[in-house]
Each structure stands twice: as structure tokens, then as C-alpha cells.
């Protein structure tokens, strides 16, 4: 066998050895990767299992909340009117009126009034609890003044001149003391012996 052939055989052996070493290393790494992916699949399976009812539940919650929003928006607009409703929303949550009501796209264009100029605190409550209330229909003071169609005006009429900023001045309390302009007469017998009744003899 010539020297060149021996060198060739050595080279081939070296190549095969390198292939074996590296491929065994790759196989070991791939086995580690397989084990890791098994853990991943187990975790992802748990996630899938746990999130399975989420879609239905969240959809149902959203439907319920949508119904609630529709109801509250509709009620607010029905009772206060769209303009005043936006004023109320703006009064409670400054800046919220710009977003408008969901079911009333035109509400975004409304210039929300300062609601304190329209409704005064407690006005409606007092009005509803008073003779306007339906329960007052049998009141001995007379029939209820509730107007089903336009009673908001009745409530507003409690302050026809606008809401008073301060109470009307009351008469001043009387001045008492030694410097009081009116001095009350004192009794003479204070500090003296009690008067005795004449004895029976």
C-alpha cells in the first residue's frame, strides 16, 4: 500500500470520527430539546384547558354589561333629555361628555351645559318625595301635582328665580347680659331668708 493511500484512509477516518462526535452531540442536544418541548406542550395544554371557558364567559359578561349600559344610557336620556344628560355626565366625570354616549353618536357634538344651572341639589328629590310623588295621590292635602309628561318643569319651578346662593337674612337674636338694652327686673327676695308664714295661734 502506498503512502498516499494510507494518508487518504487516515483522512477518511478523521472525517468519520468528526461526524460521530458532532452528531452524537447534536443528538444529545435534540433529546434535551425534546424533553423541554414536552414540558412546553404540557404547560400549553394546561393553558388551553384553563382558557377554554373564558370566551363564552367573557362574551356573556360583555352582553350583560352591554345591556346594562344600554339601559342606563336610555334611562338617562329619557329622563333628563340628551342635552341635560350630557351635562350630568360632564358634571360627574369632567371630560367624559366629549366621548359621548355609546348609543347616541350625536351626543358628541352637544355642548354640555353646566348642570348646576339646570338642576339644583335635592330639587328633584324633594319634588319627587313631595306632592309630585305618585304615592301622594291620596294625600289629604290634595291631589298630586305630578305631571307625567312635563313634571321636570314642575321640579324646576321650585326655584323659579334660580338657585339662591345664600339663605335670606333672619332677624337677629336678642341681646342679653348687663349691657343689654332691655334689662329684666330681678326678684328682691333672692339671697334673703325665706318668708315665713304667720303661725297659727
Amino acid at each position: 500500500m502506498s503512502g498516499a493511500a494510507v494518508v487518504m484512509i487516515v483522512a477518511v477516518v478523521l472525517i468519520v470520527l468528526a461526524l460521530v462526535v458532532y452528531l452524537v452531540g447534536v443528538i444529545l442536544q435534540l433529546r434535551n430539546i425534546t424533553a423541554g418541548l414536552d414540558r412546553v406542550i404540557a404547560g400549553v395544554g394546561q393553558i388551553l384547558e384553563k382558557t377554554k371557558p373564558v370566551n363564552d364567559v367573557v362574551s356573556d359578561i360583555n352582553e350583560q354589561l352591554d345591556a346594562g349600559v344600554d339601559l342606563l344610557e336610555g334611562l338617562l336620556v329619557k329622563k333628563a333629555g340628551l342635552v341635560d344628560a350630557m351635562g350630568l355626565v360632564e358634571g360627574l366625570y369632567p371630560g367624559a361628555a366629549a366621548e359621548g354616549l355609546r348609543n347616541y353618536p350625536e351626543s358628541k357634538d352637544i355642548d354640555a351645559p353646566r348642570i348646576g344651572e339646570v338642576y339644583t341639589k335635592g330639587t328633584l328629590t324633594l319634588a319627587r318625595l313631595g306632592r309630585e310623588a305618585p304615592v301622594a295621590a291620596a294625600s289629604p292635602n290634595g291631589p298630586a301635582i305630578r305631571n307625567p309628561a312635563y313634571a321636570t318643569a314642575s321640579a324646576r319651578s321650585l326655584y323659579p328665580g334660580g338657585r339662591p346662593m345664600e339663605p335670606e337674612p333672619l332677624p337677629r337674636s336678642p341681646v342679653i347680659g348687663t349691657d343689654a338694652p332691655v334689662q329684666y327686673e330681678q326678684r328682691d327676695d333672692i339671697g334673703k331668708p325665706r318668708k315665713r308664714m304667720p303661725s297659727k295661734s
Binding site: L71, K79, T152
Partner: protein, 89 residues
């Protein structure tokens, strides 16, 4: 004979280094995957643990339903006792 030697030289200078380089690249690529897979496995387990509270959504669903029923009743009552807004002239 000369061709044998030329073949040997090519083998040692080109084929063996190239094969070693490529095999090393494959091995390093395989090694680099393993830490990533382990991190993904940890994240998946942590994500699964984070979802333990999902069954509470059923309670939330029930409570939302009860709340909306209450709101509906309250709204219906208000609809009766509070008058509608004035009709714009």
C-alpha cells in the same frame, strides 16, 4: 500517484476543515435551542399558574348577571317614579 497526493491535500485542506466547520455550526445551533426551550417551558408553566384564577370568572359572570338584574329593576323603578324629560318645542 500524483493524483492520490493531490486528493489527499484537497481532503486535508478543504474537505476536513469544511466538514468540521459545518458540523460545529450544527452542534452550536442545537445547543442554542435548548436554553430557549427551557425558558419557554418555564413561561408556559408560569402562564398556566397565572390562569388558576380563571374559574373565578364564573363567579364574576354570575355577579354581573345579578348586578344587571338589580340595575334593571332599579331603572324600571326610576322609570316609574321619575318623569320623562320635557319634549323640545
Amino acid at each position: 500517484m500524483t493524483l492520490w497526493w493531490i486528493g489527499d491535500i484537497v481532503l486535508f485542506i478543504v474537505v476536513i476543515p469544511l466538514a468540521a466547520y459545518l458540523l460545529h455550526r450544527v452542534y452550536m445551533a442545537a445547543r442554542s435551542i435548548d436554553p430557549s426551550v427551557k425558558e419557554i417551558a418555564q413561561v408556559a408553566e408560569a402562564g398556566s399558574k397565572d390562569l388558576d384564577a380563571v374559574p373565578l370568572l364564573l363567579t364574576t359572570q354570575d355577579q354581573v348577571r345579578q348586578t344587571v338584574v338589580g340595575v334593571a329593576g332599579y331603572g324600571a323603578s326610576l322609570d316609574v317614579i321619575v318623569d320623562d324629560a320635557e319634549v323640545a318645542a
